[in-house]
Symmetry: C2
C-alpha cells in the first residue's frame, strides 16, 4: 500500500473517541477537503449514535481494531487513561503505511504506552496536543472552527518518521491550527503550570465555596468575574482526573510550590503589608497584561516546525 501521507485523494480517517476534540478535527478536516471518509469508535454507544445521526461519522465501528484496519490516519482522541489499552489493541492491526496520532493533553504517558505496545510501528506515531477546547465535551460540542488561531503541539520521539511528522503537522495546519514542536517532558511541565494547575485551582475554589454554610447565598451573588474564573471547573471531571493522574509527578510539586506562594501572599494580608501586597498584585497584572498583548510569540512562526 502506498504511503497515506502521499495520497492525492482525501484520507480515510479512523477516530477513536468521538468527543469535542475528535469531532472538531473531523469537521475541520472535512471542510478542508482532507478526508475521504471517517470511521469512528467510542465506548459510549449513545455518542456513536449521535455522531452517526449528525453526519460526523460515515461509519460506526464495533471495535477500535475495526476502525484502525480501514484507516489511512488513526486519531486517538481519547482520555489519557484509555490510551494504553488502545495502543495495545491497535498494535496487531496497524501497518507501516498508516499514520497514527493522538490529542491527549499529557504527552509522556501516551508516549510510554506507545513505546510499550507499538514496536516497529512506533515511528508512525506522532504524539500531539491541540491547545484548544472549552469546558464542554462530547460530539455535540464539536466545532469546525475550534482550532482556528490555536496551536497544536507535536512532541515527536527520536524515532518518529519525518514523513509521518510532516503529514500530521500538515493536517493540523489544514484544520486551522499553528504547529509547534516540543519535547514531551517540556510539554508536560509547561502545561502543568498553564493548564493543569489552573484547572485544579478552579475546581478547588468551587469545591471550597460549595462547602461554606452560606453556599446558596454565595452562588446566588456571584458576578461575572466568578463565572469566568470558574469556567474551567465545568470541565469533564473524568478527563481532569486522568490529566492529574497522567501528570501527577509534575503537578504535585507545582501545587506545593503554589501553596507556599499563596501562603506568602496571605501573610502580607495578615501583616497588613499593603505596600508589598499591592506590588505583587501590580506585578501579576503587568505579567498578565503583557501576555494578552502578545499571547504567543510563537505566532511569528519561528517555532513553527515543518
Amino acid at each position: 500500500m502506498s504511503d497515506a501521507t502521499n495520497a492525492g485523494r482525501g484520507l480515510r480517517m479512523g477516530l477513536l473517541g468521538v468527543g469535542m476534540i475528535g469531532g472538531s478535527l473531523v469537521h475541520a478536516l472535512r471542510r478542508a477537503g482532507a478526508l475521504s471518509s471517517v470511521s469512528g469508535w467510542d465506548p459510549d454507544p449513545e455518542v456513536l449514535h449521535y455522531a452517526m445521526e449528525h453526519g460526523l461519522l460515515d461509519h460506526a465501528a464495533a471495535t477500535p481494531a475495526a476502525v484502525a484496519r480501514e484507516a489511512d490516519l488513526v486519531v486517538l482522541a481519547a482520555p489519557p487513561a484509555a490510551c494504553a489499552e488502545l495502543f495495545e489493541t491497535l498494535a496487531p492491526v496497524l501497518h507501516p503505511g498508516q499514520l497514527l496520532t493522538d490529542t491527549v493533553s499529557v504527552k509522556r504517558a501516551p508516549i510510554a504506552a506507545a513505546r510499550a505496545s507499538l514496536g516497529a510501528l512506533l515511528p508512525r506515531y506522532v504524539p500531539g496536543h491541540p491547545i484548544a477546547g472549552t469546558e464542554h465535551n462530547g460530539p455535540a460540542a464539536a466545532d469546525p472552527e475550534l482550532f482556528k488561531g490555536c496551536a497544536t503541539v507535536l512532541t515527536p520521539l527520536p524515532e518518529t518518521d519525518a514523513a509521518a511528522l510532516k503529514a500530521i503537522a500538515d493536517l493540523w495546519r489544514r484544520a486551522g491550527a499553528r504547529v509547534l514542536h516540543m519535547e514531551a517532558a517540556r510539554h508536560d511541565a509547561i502545561f502543568a503550570a498553564t493548564s493543569h494547575l489552573p484547572h485544579f485551582l478552579a475546581y478547588s475554589l468551587v469545591d471550597f465555596l460549595s462547602s461554606l454554610e452560606e453556599e446558596g447565598e454565595i452562588f446566588r451573588h456571584a458576578a461575572g468575574g466568578f463565572a469566568d474564573f470558574t469556567r474551567i471547573a465545568s470541565s469533564s471531571p473524568r478527563m481532569w482526573r486522568e490529566v492529574c493522574a497522567g501528570n501527577r509527578d509534575l503537578l504535585l510539586p507545582l501545587l506545593h510550590r503554589f501553596e507556599t506562594r499563596l501562603g506568602g501572599l496571605r501573610k502580607l494580608l495578615e501583616e497588613q503589608d499593603w505596600e508589598h501586597l499591592e506590588e505583587r498584585f501590580r506585578h501579576a497584572k503587568q505579567e498578565r497584561d503583557a501576555y494578552l498583548e502578545d499571547p504567543g510569540t510563537w505566532r511569528d512562526g519561528s517555532s513553527d516546525g515543518n
Copy 2:
C-alpha cells in the same frame, strides 16, 4: 430647597471619583433622562481632563466640596480607602435635601467612615455596591450598558431615610440594575467568598507562574482557559489592595480555610485517590453548572426591595 428625590426635573449629579463605575453610572442615568447636569472631581487631573473632553462631565470641580455644594445627588465612586477622607470633607458642606451614595465594593468600612463624619446627615447616605465591572478601569472603560442585567446591593443602616433609600434604588433601576437589599456585614461576608477570594487567587496564580523559571515559556503557551481564569488578575492593584484592607477580617479566615481545603484536594492527588478526586471535581462541576443555569434566584424579584 425641595427634596431632590421629588424633583420632577433631572438631578444635578456630583461624582467623586471619575472611573469606570462612576462614568458608567453617569452614561446610564443620562441616557435614562435622570440627570440635568454632572459635575465631577477626581484626584487625577488627567482623568478629569479626559472626562471633560469626552462629554462625561459638564463641570470639572477643583475640590470634592465644590462638587457636593451644587449637587442634588452625590456619588462616591472612589476606592475604599478614599471614603473616610471624602466623608470628612463633605460633612460640612452637605445638607439634608441632598442624596448621598457610594459604589464601594466593601460596605462596612465606608459605613463606619460615614458614621464617624456625617452626624445628622447620616440618614441621607445610602451605601451601595453595583455588582458589575470588568478588569478595566478609568473613565475610558465607562459603558452605559454596564449595569444592565446586574444587581446593585444596597446596605441601608437602621438610620437610613426611607425616601433616600427609595430614590437611590430608583436611580439604579433607571440605570438598568436590579436592586437588592442586604445587611452590610452579610454583604461583606458573601463578597469575600464570591469576589475577593477569587481575585486574590487569580493574582496569586499569575504571581506564582511569573516566579517560575520557565516563565516566558509558560505565558507563551497559555491557552484560552488561562486567559479567562486570570482575567480578574488584570484588575486595578490599588483598588484590590484596598478591598483586601477593607475586608481583611473576613477574607483572611476564608483564605486560611481555602488553603486547608486546597491542601485536602492536593492530598488526594498525592495519595493517588483518583475516585475521590474525581468525585470532588464532579461535585464542583455540578455546583457551577447549577449556578450557571440559575445565576441569580433573586432575579425573580423576590428580594428586590423598594
